[in-house]
């Protein structure tokens, strides 16, 4: 229907002011659409970076031990309520093999085992309760991003080294290179050298945690060859529940996604996403109403022409096609213009990792630009359908006589 396209093009070109205004209106709506997507996406990313940045997306641990059966079951019915055991499990044996298994799941980006135990750090007269965590050397920053948060020393753990938070270091009067003793709850002790001091801005981690090489933790906690959990980071944060379910089904291990441990954050992100969605829907409604009303006026103004075209052999389909195409072209042009505008306006915003307090966290990568253009064109086409249908159904006699 080349000819119909030519006709639509001529119509749009014959009133350049009106066409430009329409395209500008659509472009504004598309700009809002993209801006909202980028802002909501950026906000979510910022929130996630700040809170989840130092957490695993999925945690894989050994399943709870089965409870021993205390009463022989001969000839009796036993009704038992199962309660999760209160003593810490022995942990996961053969972590290397599990790591290989987990690496095979699609969407898994980072794998890091850890061994957790508790005890106190002792320096002279002062003691402080701490959670001791063993990390694999070389993967210290896989989950918690120590590298970015060091205030002294290095994040790399060497044999005999320990990483502690700034608050704890101050409480114990420690600095890099100083020795400190860890005594585990089981009574074992080990002397460590502070190799790095970090500031994460997270209370518990800054004042009551110590990180040591995995082998040291296994020795002092008496868990040779075992880990408490293997932590994962995923390519897509929001895939965590699905990935967790798949891993649990395949391995029988106890698998927890972040959406369970940080349910409130998850809810907040969802609510924020919904708010953005509402704004985007309104932007699209504006496009649809604007184009529908403009085309109604256009088809009314061109009634006489439509009648003549019908008299000279234009089918209803042809008329419909011409005016729907006009709507689609306006939508496409507005979509492209709005997208260009958005790219130009949003490009100067810093990447999310570098956003300073008070700055808008805008992530153009999450602007859904393609979707915005596609939805606008689609919306404009649908908006044009009604006036175009009315035009196609005009009685040619009435249209010519007016």
């Amino acid at each position: 229907m080349l000819y119909g396209a030519k006709m639509a093009w001529r119509h749009l070109g014959s009133a350049p002011g009106q066409t430009a205004l329409l395209v500008a209106g659509v472009a504004a709506a598309v700009f809002i659409f993209i801006f909202m997507s980028a802002l909501i996406g950026g906000l979510a990313e910022l929130l996630v970076n700040r809170t989840l940045g130092n957490q695993a997306h999925v945690t894989v641990a050994a399943p709870d031990r089965p409870l021993p059966l205390l009463v022989p079951a001969q000839g009796r019915h036993i009704l038992a309520a199962r309660q999760a055991s209160t003593s810490p499990s022995l942990g996961l044996a053969a972590p290397r093999a599990w790591e290989a298994t987990l690496a095979a799941f699609p969407g898994v980006r980072v794998i890091a085992p850890k061994l957790v135990g508790s005890g106190v750090l002792i320096r002279g007269e002062v003691t402080r309760p701490v959670t001791l965590t063993g990390l694999e050397p070389g993967r210290e920053s896989a989950i918690i991003r120590f590298e970015r948060s060091m205030v002294a020393g290095t994040a790399a753990l060497a044999a005999g080294g320990v990483l502690i938070g700034e608050t704890l270091a101050r409480d114990l009067g420690l600095s890099v290179g100083r020795a400190v003793t860890f005594r585990a709850d089981n009574g074992n002790s080990v002397t460590l050298t502070v190799s790095g001091i970090y500031r994460l801005g997270l209370g518990q981690l800054d004042e009551a945690a110590a990180f040591v090489p995995m082998s040291a933790a296994q020795a002092v906690l008496e868990r040779p060859g075992r880990v408490s959990a293997i932590e994962l980071k995923l390519d897509d944060l929001y895939a965590a529940p699905a990935v967790a379910a798949r891993i649990a089904a395949a391995t029988g291990l106890d698998v927890t996604p972040w959406t369970e441990t940080s349910a409130q954050l998850f809810e907040a992100l969802r609510a924020q996403g919904n708010t953005g969605l509402i704004l985007k829907v309104f932007a699209m409604i504006t496009v649809v109403i604007g184009i529908a009303s403009a085309l109604m006026l256009t088809t009314f103004r061109r009634r006489g022409e439509i009648g003549i075209m019908r008299a000279f052999g234009a089918t209803r389909r042809f008329i419909l096609y011409v005016f729907v195409l006009e709507g689609a072209l306006i939508g496409l042009a507005g979509g492209l213009a709005g997208a260009l505008l958005a790219v130009a306006a949003l490009s100067p915003f810093p990447p999310i990792e570098e956003v300073q307090p008070g700055q808008l966290p805008v992530d153009l990568g999450q602007g859904s630009i393609g979707l915005a253009i596609w939805l606008t064109t689609l919306g404009a086409t649908l908006a044009a359908l009604l006036p175009a249908r009315a035009a196609a159904r005009l009685d040619p006699v009435e249209a010519i006589q007016q």
């Binding site: 229907m1 080349l2 000819y3 119909g4 030519k6 001529r10 119509h11 070109g13 014959s14 006489g304 022409e305 009648g307 003549i308 075209m309 019908r310 008299a311 000279f312 052999g313 234009a314 089918t315 209803r316 042809f318 009685d395 040619p396 006699v397 010519i400 006589q401």
Partner: protein
């Protein structure tokens, strides 16, 4: 004699319903033969336009039969009628009704292009020849809005001829023109009628115009009151 180009039998047309119903055509029967140039005369409001629209398949009669080139169009669907009009009927209206965003040449090409889906080179050549025939070669690339009233009407006539129709229906084609332009247009129609044998039905109030036609049909009070062929 061959079958008539167009024939209507016992056509009635009623506008509206109930108390406000207007019975405009009250049993009109009329046949137009090949090569005839018919003037349709009647007072204002007598139903000339109504009859022409029914003959042109733009409107349907309330009752009665419309046959063109041997085909009964009374019950044909919209697409069939549209295609039929496109091939066999040309229109010239009182107000020229050119497409304002198109040039004279593009307007003339419209009936061909809308059927083919594009503007063929062949059609372009024919349109140019038709514009030459109506004396408007130099205006071919002017926008419709840049033409005078008489020029527009001549472009409209060229457009009506584009697909080589058997019949041209002209509803007061000179009603909007001064005498000189009106006579020029009538001369043009008469020449086309002579040279190509296209049949014409021309509605008018104007006796001088009617005098140029080969047959004179008078409509009055919704019926054909007189029908007279000029003795040649």
């Amino acid at each position: 004699m061959s079958a008539p180009v167009l024939e209507v039998r016992e056509v009635h047309k009623v506008y509206g319903e109930g108390a406000t119903a207007t019975h405009v055509l009250k049993g009109v029967s009329l046949a137009i033969d090949r090569g005839e140039m018919v003037a349709l005369i009647g007072a204002s409001g007598s139903g000339k336009s109504t009859l022409l629209n029914i003959l042109g398949t733009l409107a349907r009669p309330t009752s009665g039969q419309v046959t063109m080139l041997g085909e009964d169009l009374t019950r044909a669907d919209d697409d069939t009628l549209t295609e039929f009009r496109n091939r066999h009927i040309g229109f010239v209206f009182q107000f020229h009704h050119l497409l304002p965003d198109f040039t004279a040449l593009e307007n003339v090409m419209f009936p061909s292009a809308v059927r083919a889906g594009r503007e063929r080179a062949q059609a372009r050549a024919r349109a140019a020849a038709l514009l030459a025939q109506v004396g408007l070669s130099e205006r071919a690339d002017f926008r419709a809005t840049q033409l005078s009233g008489g020029q527009k009407q001549r472009v409209a006539i060229a457009r009506a001829l584009m697909n080589g129709p058997e019949l041209i229906l002209a509803d007061e084609p000179t009603g909007n023109l001064d005498r000189q332009n009106a006579m020029q247009v009538m001369d043009l129609l008469a020449r086309i009628n002579r040279e190509s044998g296209t049949s014409f039905l021309i509605s008018t109030h104007d006796e001088e115009i009617a005098a140029r036609c080969s047959r004179r049909v008078v409509i009055s009070d919704g019926v054909i009151a007189a029908d007279k062929r000029a003795a040649r």
